[in-house]
C-alpha cells in the first residue's frame, strides 16, 4: 500500500522550483498526469509529494519569434491544432495528433512527454530533427540542454531533481526544407508507436539533398537522432524513379540506420518487424519530403 502522498499545486515556476528544491528526489512533478497516474497506479512511483504544475500559466504558451518556443505545458492538442506549428513544424503537429486519444491529447503535455522519456515518445523525433533544446530551470538559474543529450536512457533524462523543464526551443522549417513524422502502429489510432521516424530534409535547386536530419523512436532505449544515416543521405537526388546512384546512397543510409538502432521484442511487436519497417519508413520519408518541397516550389512559382 503506498503511503499517503502530498499533492501540492503550484502557480509559478519559482514556486515549483522551490518545492522541488525542498523535497529533492522525494518529489514528483505532475503535469497532465497521463504517464504519472498510470505509473503511480502500478506502484512504479512512490513520491512523498506530487508537485502539480498545470496551473503555471506562463508555461502554456507557444511563441514563434524566429525559432519556436514551446512552454512545457503546451498540450498535444495545442501542438496539433496551432496553425503556426502546423506550418513551421508539420512533423511535430502530426506526431502530437497521434498521441493517444482525444482525452490524452487534451491534458498530456509536451514537457511530460519529453521528461517521461519513453522510448516511444512521439514528440521526440520531430523535435530532434528540429535541433531542439530544452530549457531547465533550477534554483541556480536556467540550464539549456540539446534534446539529443537530454535523453539518457529509458525513462531517464538529464534533469536534476530540483529542476523544472520550462520550455523547448526548436528551429522551424527553412526554405526548400520539408519534414515528416511516420508512426507505425497496428490499428488506426490510440497506439503507442511500434516504430517512428522523423526526417527533415533540405534540397538544393537540383533537388539534391543538401542537409538531412533523421530521428527515430521505439527502436532503442531512447528516441535517437541517427547522424550516420543523415550523412549517407547527403548528395542523394531522389526522383520519381530512383537512379542507380540515388538508390545506392539510400542503401547506405539504410545500413547506417539499421546499425544505429537496437530494437527489441515486446508486447507491441517483434524486433524483426521493427528492423523490417525502418528502411521502408526512411524511403517513404525521403519521397514525402521531396514531394513536399516540389509542391512548395511550384506553389512559390505560381504566386
Amino acid at each position: 500500500m503506498p503511503a499517503a502522498v502530498e499533492f501540492r499545486s503550484v502557480r509559478s515556476t519559482e514556486e515549483a522550483v522551490a518545492s522541488l528544491s525542498e523535497h529533492g528526489s522525494d518529489a514528483c512533478v505532475i503535469a497532465g498526469g497521463t504517464d504519472v497516474m498510470m505509473q503511480y497506479a502500478r506502484h512504479e512511483l512512490s513520491p512523498a509529494v506530487f508537485v502539480h504544475i498545470e496551473g503555471i500559466k506562463e508555461l502554456t504558451n507557444a511563441q514563434r519569434d524566429g525559432s519556436l518556443r514551446l512552454g512545457a505545458l503546451v498540450t498535444h492538442r495545442h501542438l496539433a491544432d496551432d496553425p503556426v506549428i502546423r506550418t513551421g513544424h508539420p512533423a511535430l503537429a502530426e506526431a502530437a495528433a497521434t498521441v493517444g486519444g482525444w482525452q490524452t491529447q487534451g491534458v498530456g503535455t509536451l514537457g511530460g512527454n519529453l521528461c517521461n522519456a519513453s522510448p516511444a515518445a512521439d514528440t521526440a523525433p520531430p523535435l530532434l530533427v528540429a535541433d531542439a533544446t530544452v530549457e531547465l530551470c533550477g534554483p541556480r538559474g536556467i540550464r539549456r540542454v540539446p534534446l539529443e543529450e537530454f535523453f539518457l536512457g529509458r525513462r531517464h533524462v538529464d534533469r536534476r531533481p530540483e529542476e523544472l523543464l520550462t520550455g523547448v526551443e526548436a528551429a522551424p522549417l527553412g526554405p526548400r526544407q520539408a519534414e515528416v513524422y511516420l508512426k507505425v502502429g497496428r490499428r488506426g489510432g490510440m497506439v503507442v508507436a511500434v516504430a517512428g521516424l522523423a526526417a527533415r530534409l533540405s534540397f538544393d535547386e537540383q533537388g539534391v539533398i543538401a542537409a538531412a536530419r533523421l530521428a527515430v523512436c521505439s527502436v532503442g532505449p531512447t528516441p535517437l537522432r541517427v547522424r550516420p544515416a543523415e550523412e549517407a543521405l547527403l548528395g542523394l537526388c531522389p526522383s520519381g524513379r530512383m537512379t542507380d546512384d540515388g538508390y545506392t546512397a539510400l542503401e547506405e543510409a539504410i545500413a547506417a540506420l539499421s546499425g544505429a538502432v537496437s530494437p527489441i521484442d515486446d508486447v507491441r511487436s517483434s524486433a524483426a518487424y521493427r528492423r523490417a519497417v525502418l528502411p521502408r519508413l526512411l524511403r517513404r520519408s525521403v519521397e514525402v519530403c521531396r514531394a513536399a518541397v516540389r509542391a512548395g516550389i511550384s506553389q512559390d512559382d505560381l504566386s
Binding site: M1, V184, G185, R186, R187, G188, G189, M190, V191, V192, I254, D266, V267, R268, S269, S270, A272, Y273, A276, V277, P279, R280, L281, R283, R284
Partner: protein
C-alpha cells in the same frame, strides 16, 4: 394496434444505462460488505510445497484465508470434473487460484496478499499443443483416468488429450489416392480475449445455511449448480441474483470468482465482494482457444471436391471446461456449406499448462471457417478456378445432409446469400487496385436449443409482468425481443411489458445467454405462457359478457366481442374482475428446441451432435494493405444473414455490426501471445481492440425465411456474425498481396514477409 414486431422499440434498460444508474455486477454494495481476492499462481506449473500464512493473518482487518488444505478440494467442472477449487498441491496454469483471502478493507486485503508466502517447486510446463501431444510428454493431469463427467457422458480421451472426436465414413483414402489433385494446408489461430467492459465480479452472502450470489452472469443457473457442486452443497442451497451484464461473449457462462466469494462469505459471516483486475481477468478468462487446423482436399481434374481430411488440434488449457463439446464443432464447419463426398474429421482438445480456454461467441467456428474458406481460395488458385464459381458449384441444396446426417431442409438459402451479396456489389468488381483485395466466406450456424421458461402475469393496471431466468447479455434479447413477443400477444406496446432480472429462486430454469437462443427458445416459452394468460382473460370476459369465449378476441390491450368493439374490457378491468373470479392471472411456459434427427454413429466423441434451427451466412470483405508497414484497412464489409424474422432491426443490425467488429479484432489486431505459458499482453494497452476508426460501416442484408416452429419465425441472430469474419478478411488480404495467409491474427510481419524485401513492393505500384 399495429404489430410491435419488426419495430425499433426502446430497451427497458436504456435510460438506466445511458444515465449510468444501471446496476451492474460490480456495483453491488451490501451492508457490512467486506473484500475478497485470490492469491494467484505466478508460475504455470508447480507443486506447492508450503503455504505460510502467518504474516498475512497478522494484518489488521484480515477475516479469512482459505487454501486448498482448508477445503474439500475435489475436482469439478462443466464437462469433466478435472478442476479443483485451488491449485493445491499442484498448480497447472499461471493465474490459478492458490488461496482466497477476505479483509475489512481493500488496503488490508492487498497487504495480506503481499505477505502470503507460497513455496513452490516449479515443474516443466507444457505450453503448446505439439509438445502436449508428443509421446513422452509430461502429463498435465497424471490422474486423468480417474476423472468423471458430471453428466455421466463418456468419450475417448487419454493423457493430455481431453477429448478426441473422430468421424471416418470410410473410403477417404481411396478418394485421395485416385484424385487428380491434392491440396493440403496447415492453418494456425491464436487465442482471443472476450474483452467485455465489466470484469468478472461476485458478491456473496451466507445466511441460515444458504448462499446468495449477486452476479452479472450469462448463465445464473449454471452458477448455482457449479457453486453447489464445488462447495458440496445442494443446488437449492444457492440462490443466484442477476444484475446488468457489462458484456460476456461466452466468458461468463462458467463460474469464475463465485465459488470463492461463497467460501469467503461462509468463513467470515459477512457479505464478500470480489472483482478481477483487468490483468487478472485477461489472464484467467476462458478465452477463445488457439488451434492448428490441417485440411487436405482430394479434387477431380475439373476441381470437384471429392474428399477431405480435416484435422484439428486445439488448446484446452489446464482444464477441460467445455472443450469436450467444442471438439464436435469441426463436424459442422466442413461439409455444411460446401458438398464434399467423403470427409474424415478428427479433432483433439489438448491439455497444456496455460489458462483454460472456453466459450467465446462463435465457439471454434471462427478459426474452423477460416481454415475451410482459406483452403478453398487456395484450391481455386492452384487449379486456376474462379473463387466464387468454385463455391457456387459445391453449395449444399435443400434436403442435403451435413456430416452428422442432419438434413438441411432449406440449404438453398445459401445460394440466395450469394445472389444477394452480388446485388450489393458484384464480387468481381471489388478489391481492384494495387494492394487491394476481396474475400468471401460462408457458414452454417446453429441456434442453441437448450431449455428456457417464462411466467407472465397480468398486472392489475393492465401491464404484463414477464418473469424469466433469461439474461440479457447486452444484445436486447430480453429487454427488447422478449418484451416485443409478449406485447404482441396482447396487442399492447412493448413499454407495457415489465421484465424482471434473473433470480434462480424466482424464475424457472434458463440455459443462459448463449448460442443466440434467447429470442428463439424463451420467445416460445413467452408465447406459451401468454396463451394461458389469454385463456383466463377470455374466460373472465366470457363470464362478464355472457358470451362464448370463441366469440371473443384479445386485441389492443383488451378483450372484446368479435366485431363489437363497444363490448370491450381493458386488460386492467379484466385483472380487477379476476380478483373475484379465480384469482390473479398468470401463465407459465417452457420450451426447448427438439434436436433434429442426426446419425449417432457418424462419429465417436460426438457430444454436440446437431445444429438446431440452422442459419446461413455469407460475408464479403474488401481490404487495402499498406505495403509500407504491412497493416490492413477494411474498406467495405458486406453481410448477408438469414435471421428468420427481424424482431427488432436495431438489435439485428447491432449484433451484426458488433460481431463483425469483434471478428475484425480477432483477424487483425487482438494479439494474445503465449510465451512459456504466459500471456505477453495483459492490459488493454497492449491487447489491441479495434477502434471505431478501424471498423467500416457494415452493409447488412437480412433474409427472412421464418421458421414455422419459432416465435414469429425468428431464428438465432447474435452469435454467428463473428464466425466468417476472419476467413473473409484473410481471403481478402491474401488476394491483395498475392500470397497465402495462414495464421490468425494476420500480422504486419507476415504481410511484409510475403511482400518481399524493400524495393520489390515499389515495382507493383
Amino acid at each position: 394496434m399495429t404489430s410491435v414486431l419488426g419495430r425499433r422499440v426502446t430497451r427497458s434498460d436504456a435510460e438506466a444505462k445511458v444515465r449510468g444508474s444501471a446496476d451492474y455486477g460490480v456495483d453491488v454494495v451490501l451492508p457490512g460488505m467486506v473484500y475478497g481476492a485470490l492469491w494467484r499462481s505466478p508460475v504455470p506449473a508447480a507443486r506447492v510445497v508450503a503455504i505460510d500464512s502467518e504474516a498475512a493473518w497478522r494484518v489488521p482487518g484480515v477475516l479469512a484465508l482459505i487454501t486448498g488444505a482448508d477445503v474439500d478440494n475435489h475436482p469439478t467442472g462443466l464437462a469433466l470434473c478435472d478442476q479443483p477449487l485451488f491449485g493445491w498441491p499442484v498448480v497447472r496454469y499461471e493465474g490459478e487460484p492458490v488461496a482466497a483471502v477476505a479483509a475489512e478493507t481493500p488496503e488490508s486485503l492487498e497487504k495480506a496478499l503481499d505477505l502470503l508466502h507460497v513455496e513452490f517447486v516449479e515443474r516443466p510446463a507444457i505450453t503448446d499443443v505439439t509438445s502436449a501431444l508428443s509421446p513422452d510428454a509430461v502429463l498435465v493431469h497424471p490422474d486423468w483416468a480417474s476423472y468423471a463427467s458430471p453428466s455421466g457422458a463418456e468419450w475417448p480421451r487419454e493423457g493430455n488429450v481431453v477429448c478426441e472426436l473422430l468421424s471416418d465414413p470410410g473410403g477417404v483414402g481411396e478418394v485421395f489416392s485416385s484424385a487428380a489433385h491434392v491440396v493440403r494446408d496447415v492453418y494456425r489461430a491464436d487465442r482471443q480475449y472476450q474483452a467485455y467492459l465489466e470484469p468478472h465480479a461476485a458478491v456473496a452472502e451466507y445466511n441460515s445455511g444458504r448462499f446468495t450470489l449477486h452476479v452479472a452472469h450469462q448463465f445464473p443457473f449454471n452458477v448455482r449448480d457449479r457453486v453447489a457442486h464445488a462447495l458440496g452443497v445442494g443446488a437449492s442451497a444457492v440462490r443466484v441474483v442477476g444484475h446488468h451484464i457489462g458484456g460476456g461473449f461466452g466468458a461468463k457462462l462458467d463460474v469464475a470468482l463465485e465459488p470463492y466469494a461463497a467460501l469467503l462469505a461462509r468463513a467470515t459471516g459477512r457479505p464478500v465482494r470480489m472483482e478481477n483486475s483487468r490483468s487478472e481477468d485477461l489472464m484467467t478468462a476462458q478465452c477463445r482457444e488457439s488451434a492448428v487446423v490441417t485440411i487436405s482436399s482430394a479434387l477431380s481434374a475439373s476441381g470437384d471436391m471429392l474428399g477431405c481430411e480435416f484435422d484439428v488440434v486445439f488448446d484446452s488449457g489446464a482444464y477441460a471446461i467445455d472443450a469436450p463439446y467444442l471438439a464436435s464443432i469441426p463436424m459442422f464447419a466442413v461439409g455444411s456449406v460446401y458438398r464434399v463426398d467423403r470427409t474424415r474429421v478428427r479433432c483433439r482438445a489438448v491439455y497444456t499448462n496455460t489458462a483454460p480456454t472456453g466459450a467465446f461467441r462463435g465457439v471454434s467456428g471462427t478459426y474452423l471457417v477460416f481454415a475451410v474458406e482459406r483452403h478453398l481460395d487456395h484450391v481455386a488458385r492452384e487449379l486456376g478456378l474462379d473463387r466464387r464459381e468454385l463455391r457456387l458449384r459445391h453449395l449444399r441444396r435443400n434436403g442435403e445432409k451435413m456430416l452428422n446426417g442432419q438434413t438441411l431442409a432449406d440449404a438453398d438459402i445459401l445460394r440466395e446469400c450469394f445472389d444477394r451479396a452480388e446485388e450489393v456489389a458484384p464480387f468481381s468488381s471489388l478489391g481492384k487496385g494495387p494492394y487491394r483485395g476481396v474475400g468471401m466466406a460462408a457458414c452454417v450456424w446453429l441456434t442453441n436449443p437448450l431449455a428456457g421458461s417464462a411466467v407472465l402475469k397480468l398486472n392489475e393496471d393492465g401491464t404484463i409482468g414477464l418473469v424469466t431466468g433469461a439474461t440479457d447479455n447486452g444484445s436486447g434479447a430480453v429487454t427488447m425481443g422478449l418484451r416485443q413477443i409478449a406485447a404482441e400477444e396482447f396487442g399492447i406496446g412493448a413499454s407495457d411489458v415489465l421484465v424482471t432480472m434473473p433470480d434462480t429462486d424466482v424464475a424457472g430454469y434458463d440455459a443462459g445467454s448463449q448460442g443466440s437462443r434467447t429470442t428463439r427458445v424463451v420467445g416460445m416459452a413467452v408465447i406459451a405462457a401468454a396463451a394461458q394468460v389469454r385463456e383466463r382473460v377470455l374466460s373472465i370476459a366470457s363470464d362478464h359478457f355472457e358470451a362464448a369465449a370463441a366469440d371473443l378476441e384479445v386485441v389492443d390491450g383488451g378483450v372484446q366481442v368479435r366485431g363489437v368493439p363497444s363490448r370491450r374490457l381493458t386488460l386492467a378491468e379484466v385483472a380487477k374482475l379476476a380478483a373475484s373470479n379465480g384469482g390473479p392471472i398468470t401463465g407459465a411456459g417452457s420450451y426447448s428446441t427438439p434436436l433434429p434427427n442426426y446419425s449417432p454413429t457418424c462419429a465417436t466423441g460426438f457430444l454436440f451432435p446437431a445444429f438446431p434451427t440452422p442459419t446461413y451466412h455469407l460475408h464479403v470483405a474488401e481490404v487495402e494493405v499498406e505495403p509500407l508497414v504491412g497493416t490492413v484497412r477494411v474498406l467495405r464489409y458486406i453481410v448477408v444473414q438469414e435471421v428468420g424474422r427481424v424482431v427488432n432491426p436495431t438489435g439485428v443490425v447491432g449484433q451484426i455490426q458488433g460481431g463483425v467488429a469483434q471478428g475484425l479484432g480477432y483477424a487483425l489486431w487482438e494479439w494474445l501471445e503465449s510465451e512459456g505459458g504466459r500471456y505477453r499482453q495483459r492490459t488493454f494497452e497492449s491487447y489491441g481492440l479495434p477502434l471505431s476508426v478501424d471498423v467500416p460501416r457494415v452493409e447488412v442484408v437480412t433474409l427472412e425465411h421464418g421458421d414455422s416452429d419459432s416465435p414469429h419465425g425468428a431464428k438465432g441472430v447474435g452469435e454467428p456474425p463473428i464466425v466468417p469474419v476472419a476467413a473473409a478478411v484473410a481471403n481478402a488480404v491474401s488476394d491483395a498481396i498475392g500470397a497465402e495467409v495462414d495464421a490468425i491474427p494476420i500480422r504486419p510481419e507476415a504481410i511484409l514477409e510475403a511482400l518481399g524485401p524493400l524495393g520489390a513492393s515499389e515495382h507493383r505500384e
